[in-house]
């Protein structure tokens, strides 16, 4: 079946360093969503990308959707301790987009002050 893979599984950085997590799908995605889960919390929706090559920014966070719509990335500039958590990408379960979301296993980010 379709898979959504994320790398790395875990990364720790010094506060102020940049961070990137990558998401790869085995099939073309109609859209991709990104979520953040703080330790002990629940996943919270961050953003949805729909267009090939799309780039969206939210303050220090930059999200990209690949040209082939099979990969995506989340880049955080100058990390802060408030960025700590696990970042998940999720895409529809089959090409065409009208199926349940498949979540990646997530990238856990630790930020050392």
């Amino acid at each position: 079946g379709q898979q959504v893979m994320q790398i790395p599984q875990y990364q720790h950085v010094q506060e102020g360093e940049d961070f990137t997590t990558y998401c790869n799908s085995s099939t073309t995605l109609s859209n991709i969503q990104w979520y953040k889960q703080r330790p002990g919390g629940h996943p919270v929706f961050l953003i949805q990308l729909v267009k090939s090559g799309e780039v969206k920014k939210q303050k220090r966070l930059t999200f990209q959707f690949g040209e082939a719509k099979k990969n995506s990335s989340l880049h955080i500039t100058a990390t802060q301790t408030t960025d700590v958590g696990t970042y998940f990408c999720a895409g529809p379960g089959r090409p065409g987009g009208y199926n349940k979301l498949i979540f990646g296993a997530g990238t856990r980010l630790a930020v050392h002050p």
């Binding site: 629940h42 996943p43 919270v44 998940f88 529809p92 987009g97 979301l101 296993a105």
Partner: protein, 112 residues
């Protein structure tokens, strides 16, 4: 999100017992989902519902039962709990299948 609530927040039970986890949303969202979260597996879909009285299996449905008699409620039942079902369970809802999902705070379930 205040609009989706799960209960209980924590539950400890024994193998073989029946357990029901509750989920209630106030947005009138059509879609509701149940996930389990285990280390190394991310979020895995157990069951979902597209509307009242319409439910379908997800990735890991075995050992679970759901119902949706009202749009706002989507209970998840473990008919005979096993230790492998120890996990954190999240309920979520969305307006359509591909719209962003809103998650509840989760239920941490331990089966001894």
């Amino acid at each position: 999100d205040a609009g989706i609530t799960q209960s209980p927040r924590y539950k400890i039970t024994e193998t073989g017992r029946q357990v029901t986890l509750m989920c209630h949303q106030t947005w009138s969202h059509s879609y509701m989902f149940w996930y389990r979260q285990d280390l190394g597996h991310g979020l895995r879909l157990i069951y979902y519902s597209a509307a009242a009285d319409i439910t379908d299996k997800g990735e890991v449905p075995d050992g679970y039962v759901v119902s949706r008699s009202k749009t706002e409620n989507f209970p998840l039942t473990l008919e005979s709990a096993t230790r492998s079902q120890t996990s954190v369970y999240f309920c979520a809802s969305s307006g359509t299948m591909n719209q962003p999902q809103h998650f509840g705070d989760g239920t941490r379930l331990s089966i001894l």
